[in-house]
């Protein structure tokens, strides 16, 4: 505890006394003899002291009575020496790590051993592989944290800590930088989340610049995060930024990377190469070239591949030859063959350049760090690029011995073009390429012939070309989609805080902090005239402001064997989100002109202005006894504007304790044990309501001429809402053996979230689609286990191994008013639900009838469907949860002198994913499995009477194996989704991935000394290089539409992206 005070005092200020003698010396590390920078040197029994500079040197004026100097550094043993000048003090690494300090809630540094809850830290291995959305870099490295990465450029990362706690509300972890909340909103429309199309604009926390991150602490349970209040119920990602270091002169570091990205072909469908365009076997015939004879014309209007068998001797006119404005190709006849270039040739090699320069320095009065980063990225599809600039400044200054301040400001600007359209939408090239396509259409042709000489789109999917209708019937040319119908967006963001500390007395200080997170963003989307949808231009403008003011009184006292700390704080939070979304209506007037005024009908505008506030008070007291027993008590009271005034104030407590088992005398004798701790905690967190969910509103629709048109809001408000509550209990055991060579950390937890505030779907016969309720309970029980070991440490060679494993069991205990199912979303025959007694996210749809566990067919060889008592198909069979059974990660670092190899394998077991792509890809005869030979060696597409067709892998009702072949030669036959229950397209989402690989080399200090640099390192990095195992056909089981609660439906899924490149860091 004294150390904490000492550190605190150091930060607060360094006092200078009169009548002094001056001493100086150096502090070095016992490990390598290198200087220890920033070590604390204190005059014992006083607050007088300093820290060592970049060469480990210190100089100090001693008060008259001073005798002993205390030398300390985080993670090293404390050394006391008699004060004299010229001392060279060697600090040894503290294997019992009793001094390990971690960052906890509100940015308070605490001794890790004193904590009664689980905090996991990530430092060195955080950004090995240079992930631009740093959230993705956490995947697989921390137990209890599940991250789902988007396969789109700049897409959202979904981050869940210890499971889904809210039915319908936000389940994403909270982000905090240096103790200050930072927004992680997702502006994606519900359409994007539901897979109905749009763009994934990413999660706002991706603005956090990974180059400025020093370390990350992950607060998983409510006890750890309770001081942050409501928003921390889903766990907290605490980011500590890099700060300037006290040193001689100016430290400069430069970090440059170049990464290449490419589509992982194993996550793309295989296209059949035997049959071409059509919903059946036919062509059209007309005289296109005017030679008096009819040519054979490809049915361009069919977006399927059930057509005529390829035959190079047959000459056809395809879509390229049907554009009368293309004088060269009009009427040209080409052999009827499969496309040479298919979906696999569409994706390009992307590249990402990142450059960072940071300057830092400081002295005993203060420190500073300036950093500038540019990341520019080109995606794997045409016309996709992102550019991000980030400038950050952090500084601290000690005005007097008692008054100090520190501040951090960062500005981010990003400008992006051509994000990937998602979901079942023409904006997503995968809708045509991966679901509805003709196997004869060559990607190179699509690339070459995009726009006709009259300015119109050229597409393979002409409506009725023989009769002159060359407009796209269903699909755009994917290059038109990418190059003409593109989006662009940008964001300017300023984040910063100022923190002032005043030391009232050696043991008590007052701290004030003001912070703001302010950004404005803009999104523009286009659908050009001549596309397959009504031409449209939309603009979305949004500003977000969050301000927080905190005032805290902190005290530390030691009474004999007892140490105590106290914290009292108040805070005031205000959020204002204002947005305007407007779009053209009825089409555009002038082609290629994207302006809201260029609208045929009056534009549609939606304004939103959301203001909410929370006033809070909080307190935290800790007691420690003899470095053996610790107890933490905290409480917070919130008054939140979004709740009705009768229920707007709510209190929640937490209590946690820990016992350092290794201090027990019986265990002290057990030499292999270095450290062991048992911890236990209980906490509650309250949460308010979304803004404006308590009042009654009317929705305004477009005017009918000059008449107003309003309707009742489709969501029924609830004026009696009360706060939500999450209660959690957690126990943990951690231990190290053989001087940290082996260690583990085990946590068991149970979290119950009750009285959830949510809009639930209700019978529309009630007059509303949804109503806000305050009901239900969801439980998360889990085990987190992390294990680390250094199996080999010989000579200069070290192998560090880390394993983490998480099992979270989620269960919906109750919903509301006896309702046992809440629909989260549905599309066609699949729905995602909350079901009583089941884990979060149950897929429902039609299912097979099973006989002895095997799918059952009727006498005609067609599948039987599970039915209701009245004989209709059951549309609500439980097809499994989208949540994994367990997740884990295994990482290994092999280092030899300056050379280090890092490998991370990320594992997810279980959970389901439904594939719309697969359903349509086979129904349209596009995928490889729909062609080729059946098990009799006859073409599947031949008639059953000729030995063709396929038979389902099933049994008859009597249990005998199915031997009936059915036709599989055209749309609507054996591969059709009307013949096959939903369950067919539900897959196991397990995966094992080689997530990260990096090989880095740091040039030895001895060699560097001869250069102007202080440190030189280079690394070769790779991400998502190999999906070692998956059970899904083609697509990546990790695929998702967006971050959020809607998961487990793959629709228009992009291939996952492999990243490979190198990185160079220089310091001087």
């Amino acid at each position: 505890m004294r150390k904490v005070i000492t550190l605190l005092c150091l930060i607060i200020g360094i006092s200078w006394a009169a009548a002094q003698t001056r001493v100086s010396g150096t502090v070095v590390s016992g490990d390598d003899g290198q200087p220890v920078i920033g070590a604390s040197v204190l005059v014992k029994g006083t607050n007088i002291g300093t820290i060592t500079d970049s060469e480990g040197k210190y100089a100090l004026s001693l008060p008259a009575q001073a005798k002993i100097l205390v030398f300390s550094y985080v993670g090293m043993t404390i050394v006391e020496k008699e004060a004299k000048t010229g001392l060279k003090v060697t600090l040894q690494t503290d294997s019992r790590q009793i001094n390990e300090v971690v960052v906890t809630a509100l940015g308070i540094k605490r001794e890790k051993k004193a904590l009664g809850y689980s905090v996991q830290e990530l430092n060195s291995d955080l950004n090995n592989a240079k992930e631009s959305n740093f959230v993705n870099a956490i995947s697989g490295k921390v137990s209890g944290v599940q991250i789902k990465q988007a396969s789109t450029m700049g897409g959202s990362a979904n981050i869940l800590i210890r499971g889904n706690k809210s039915f319908i509300g936000n389940n994403q972890a909270m982000f905090v930088i240096d103790g200050v909340p930072v927004d992680n909103s997702n502006t994606n429309s519900t359409d994007v989340a539901d897979g109905l199309g749009g763009y994934d604009y990413g999660n706002a926390a991706s603005d956090i610049n990974s180059e400025d991150i020093e370390s990350i602490s992950i607060l998983k349970g409510a006890a750890a995060s309770a001081l942050y209040g409501s928003r921390a119920a889903n766990g907290v990602i605490l980011v500590t930024t890099k700060k300037g270091k006290a040193q001689k002169g100016v430290g400069i570091s430069v970090n440059s990377g170049l990464l290449f990205t490419s589509a992982d072909k194993s996550t793309l469908p295989k296209i059949q190469k035997e049959y071409g365009a059509g919903y059946g076997d036919y062509f059209d015939y007309a005289d296109i070239n005017g030679d008096g004879k009819d040519e054979t014309i490809v049915p361009t209007y069919d977006d399927a591949s059930w057509g005529h068998k390829f035959d190079p001797t047959l000459k056809v006119v395809d879509w390229v030859g049907l554009d009368p404005f293309d004088k060269v190709n009009y009427g040209r006849q080409v052999p009827w063959v499969a496309a040479k270039h298919d979906i696999r040739d569409f994706f390009e090699t992307g590249a990402k350049y990142s450059n960072n320069i940071a300057i830092d320095g400081g002295n005993e009065k203060g420190t500073y760090r300036l950093s500038y980063t540019n990341v520019s990225e080109k995606g794997i599809m045409p016309n996709s690029k992102m550019n991000k600039n980030n400038a950050a400044f952090s500084g601290s200054y000690n005005f007097t011995k008692n008054l100090s301040f520190d501040s951090n400001v960062s500005y981010t600007n990003d400008a992006n073009v051509g994000r990937y359209g998602t979901g079942y939408d023409p904006g997503n090239p995968m809708q045509s390429l991966g679901q509805w396509f003709q196997s004869n259409v060559d990607i190179n042709d699509l690339k070459q012939y995009v726009v006709s000489s009259n300015g119109a789109q050229r597409t393979w999917n002409y409506g009725d070309p023989i009769n002159g209708d060359l407009s796209p019937i269903y699909h755009n040319n994917i290059y038109w989609t990418r190059n003409v119908n593109y989006e662009n967006d940008g964001r300017n963001r300023l984040f910063g805080y100022i923190n002032a500390k005043y030391k009232i007395a050696p043991w008590i200080s007052l701290e004030g902090r003001a912070s703001t997170d302010y950004y404005s963003e803009m999104q523009e989307e286009r659908i050009a005239i001549g596309s397959n949808q009504t031409s449209k231009y939309s603009k979305y403008l949004r500003t977000f402001i969050e301000t927080n003011y905190d005032v805290m009184l902190k005290a530390n006292r030691t009474f004999g064997e007892f140490t105590t700390t106290g914290l009292l704080g108040v805070s005031r939070r205000r959020n204002e989100v204002a947005s305007t979304y407007a779009y053209t209506v009825g089409g555009l007037l002038v082609p290629g002109f994207y302006n809201l005024m260029n609208s045929k009908s009056p534009i549609f505008t939606k304004e939103n202005d959301e203001l909410l506030g929370v006033n809070s008070g909080y307190a935290n007291f800790t007691f420690g006894y003899n470095s053996f027993l610790y107890l933490d008590l905290s409480g917070r009271v919130d008054k939140m504007s979004t709740l009705p005034s009768a229920n707007d104030t709510y209190f929640y407590p937490s209590i946690s304790g820990s016992i350092i088992l290794s201090e027990i005398s019986a265990l002290k004798k057990f030499k292999p044990l270095s450290f062991a701790k048992f911890r236990l905690n209980y906490a509650e967190v309250g949460n308010g309501a979304p803004a404006y969910s308590t009042g009654k509103y009317y929705t305004q629709n477009t005017n009918w001429s000059t008449l107003g048109v309003f309707s009742l809001s489709s969501v029924l408000s609830n004026p009696n809402l009360k706060p939500e509550r999450t209660r959690s209990i957690e126990a943990g055991l951690e231990a190290n053996f053989f001087e940290k060579r082996i260690g583990f950390d085990l946590s068991l937890y149970k979290t119950n979230s009750i009285d959830q505030i949510m809009p639930v779907n209700i019978s529309r016969a009630s007059g509303y689609n949804q109503r806000y309720v305050n009901s239900g309970e969801i439980e998360n029980k889990g085990v987190e286990f992390s294990f680390n070991a250094t199996p080999i440490k010989v000579g200069g060679f070290t192998w560090d191994l880390r394993v983490n494993w998480t099992k979270n069991v989620n269960k919906v205990i109750s919903l509301y008013e006896g309702v046992d199912n809440i629909l989260l979303t549905d599309s066609w025959d699949i729905s995602l639900n909350l079901a009583k007694g089941q884990p979060y996210g149950i897929l429902r749809g039609t299912d097979f009838v099973y006989t002895n566990g095997k799918r059952t067919v009727d006498a005609t060889g067609h599948y039987l469907y599970a039915t209701n008592t009245d004989g209709s198909n059951k549309t609500d069979c439980n097809l499994g949860t989208v949540l994994p059974d367990w997740t884990g990660g295994i990482s290994s670092t092999f280092s030899y002198k300056g050379l280090s190899l890092y490998l991370l394998v990320d594992i997810s077991k279980g959970g389901k994913v439904y594939s719309v792509d697969q359903k349509y890809g086979v129904a349209t005869g596009l995928f490889a499995e729909t062609a080729g030979l059946n098990d009799k060696g006859v073409a599947k597409r031949d008639a059953v009477t000729a030995g063709g067709g396929i038979k389902y892998d099933a049994v008859y009702a009597d249990g005998k194996v199915n031997t009936t072949y059915i036709d599989a030669d055209t749309w609507g036959t054996a591969w059709d989704y009307d013949q096959i229950p939903t369950a067919e397209y539900v897959y196991d989402a397990s995966y094992v991935k080689l997530r990260e690989l990096s090989l880095s080399y740091t040039i030895p200090a001895k060699l560097v000394k001869k250069t102007p640099f202080t440190k030189i390192s280079a690394s070769f990095v790779g991400r998502n290089l190999w999906i070692i195992h998956k059970n899904t056909p083609y697509f990546d089981p990790e695929t998702s539409q967006s971050a959020g609660n809607i998961q487990g439906i793959a629709d228009g899924a992009y291939p996952s992206t492999r990243t490979l490149g190198f990185n160079v860091s220089l310091s001087f």
């Binding site: 009769n467 009184l553 509103y697 009317y698 008449l707 209700i762 007059g767 509303y768 209709s872």
Partner: protein, 481 residues
């Protein structure tokens, strides 16, 4: 020291207590509106749903076989679950139409009117639309929530009421509206906000009586006595006497207030439906001159009118299409009740000798002539048509049911919902079951919303049991034959 702690505690109290929180009222949503703006919405929502050709909203033109799907023949083959069509139809009627109508009435009742007749008229206008919407619900599903419906918070899981009981209560409500609708001096109705009639009470009265006439004949097979009384009353009070009075909404032509054909075929460039063989073959066989107004000829089949075999896939370009100058016009109107329909109803009343109506043939002719005129056919051509033995009332084949049923089906062209209703009741014309199906597979009922099972399970199950199963083959109470 103490002062600092004291001042800190004081600051705490100040922050918690006196620092005002923002209020929780959405500045960008209206908290109070006039009854006018809601009433306009009720009218538009009702017409939009009835007129829609969006495959996600309204597939009744497939059920009545005016048209069929070209490629994706799922709905033509009576699979409605893929797009949860019943949920949409039900949701729009309950929420967009009925809930807003109830809210309109609530606001009216809370408004002070110096002219009491104004309140009565406005309530009655709203009530007629509510009765219309409820009849649509009953006709589609059978038993539906009624007494416990539209109660919002008070009951989010309303029980279903017996279809016939609802029907009879609708008649009572309609009667009250008819009594209340009174024209007097001054504009004391929903006037400009009434985008259907501009507040014309006479037209509203005719619409209400015409609706009453429709309901009367709908129950004629099960309760002829009541039907007879209702017919007498409706005719005496005044049903539509010309197409000018009909309940037809003309769109402004400015998106989103454009006809749904325009949205789908022109704006969205879809080509999902063509006229079915059922429709074109029937009209071809009768040499119907309205064909020219409705559909194009097929070049592929040598310039004839050619429909695609109902329920099978085919190529859009090969078959007759709807005439784009008429149906794809953004202002192409939606009919929910018209003079043509009224004359057919009167013809049927006469044929059934109900309500003192006579002259079945005259009414039959009036109906056909009115339809011809509406669709721009000359009176000479209409006369030629009517003079054919296959058409003329006296000589046309079959019973009155077949004669009226067939001609009414043609006269109700493009009004999928009403055409399907009347086909179920009159059992003519003979439709074509899709390949692989039999005649009895053609739905005679719309299945309940798939979500009702999940959101209102107990009541759903009870209702399904009460009507004889939530099946498309379960007949409604008025569908006796």
């Amino acid at each position: 020291m103490k002062t600092i702690i004291k001042s800190f505690l004081l600051a705490l109290v100040v922050v918690m207590a006196s620092c005002d929180l923002p209020n929780n009222i959405d500045p960008k949503s209206a908290t109070a509106v006039t009854s006018d703006v809601l009433f306009t919405n009720v009218e538009i929502s009702l017409f939009n749903q009835i007129g829609s050709v969006n495959v996600n909203r309204n597939v009744f033109r497939l059920l009545s076989q005016y048209q069929t799907e070209v490629t994706y023949v799922t709905e033509s083959n009576y699979n409605f679950s893929d797009r949860t069509l019943p949920d949409t139809h039900w949701g729009i009627l309950y929420r967009d139409v009925l809930a807003n109508a109830e809210e309109t009435k609530k606001i009216l009742n809370n408004t002070l009117f110096t002219d009491k007749q104004e309140l009565k008229n406005k309530l009655a206008q709203t009530e007629v639309l509510e009765v219309y919407a409820y009849q649509m619900l009953v006709d589609a599903f059978g038993n539906v929530p009624y007494t416990e419906a539209l109660q919002g918070d008070a009951n989010s899981r309303p029980k279903y009421d017996d279809a016939k009981t609802i029907y009879y209560d609708l008649v009572t409500r309609l009667d009250k509206a008819i009594t209340d609708l009174t024209a007097d001096a001054g504009s004391n109705t929903f006037a400009s906000a009434d985008v259907l009639y501009g507040g014309d009470v006479t037209n509203w009265l005719a619409f209400a009586n015409s609706l009453k006439l429709r309901i009367a004949l709908r129950i004629a097979d099960v309760d002829a006595t009541k039907a007879g009384t209702m017919i007498t009353q409706a005719v005496a009070s005044g049903v539509f006497t010309s197409q000018d009075q009909s309940a037809i909404l003309h769109y402004t032509g400015v998106t989103p207030y454009v006809n749904s054909y325009y949205t789908e075929y022109v704006l969205n460039a879809r080509r999902d439906y063509v006229p079915s063989n059922t429709f074109i073959d029937k009209l071809n066989s009768l040499n119907d001159p309205r064909l020219t107004s409705w559909v194009t000829t097929s070049d592929y089949y040598g310039g004839i009118y050619k429909g695609l075999t109902y329920g099978t896939a085919g190529r859009y370009s090969r078959f007759s299409h709807f005439v784009d100058g008429i149906l794809f016009n953004p202002t192409y109107p939606v009919i929910i009740s018209d003079y043509v329909e009224v004359e057919f109803l009167l013809a049927e009343a006469a044929a059934r000798t109900l309500g003192g109506v006579t002259g079945a043939e005259q009414h039959y002719n009036n109906a056909i002539n009115a339809s011809m005129t509406y669709w721009g056919v000359s009176s000479a051509d209409a006369a030629t048509y009517l003079s054919q033995p296959t058409v003329a009332y006296t000589t046309a084949p079959g019973t009155w049911k077949q004669k009226i049923g067939t001609q009414k089906w043609i006269g109700l062209f493009d009004r999928g919902i009403e055409a399907w209703n009347e086909w179920r009741r009159l059992d003519y014309p003979t439709l074509n079951p899709p390949a692989g199906m039999v005649y009895s597979d053609i739905p005679v009922r719309f299945p309940y919303p798939y979500n009702e099972n999940k959101l209102n399970g107990t009541n759903y199950a009870a209702a399904a049991k009460a009507i004889g199963g939530d099946l498309t083959s379960t007949k409604l109470f008025w569908d006796k034959y």
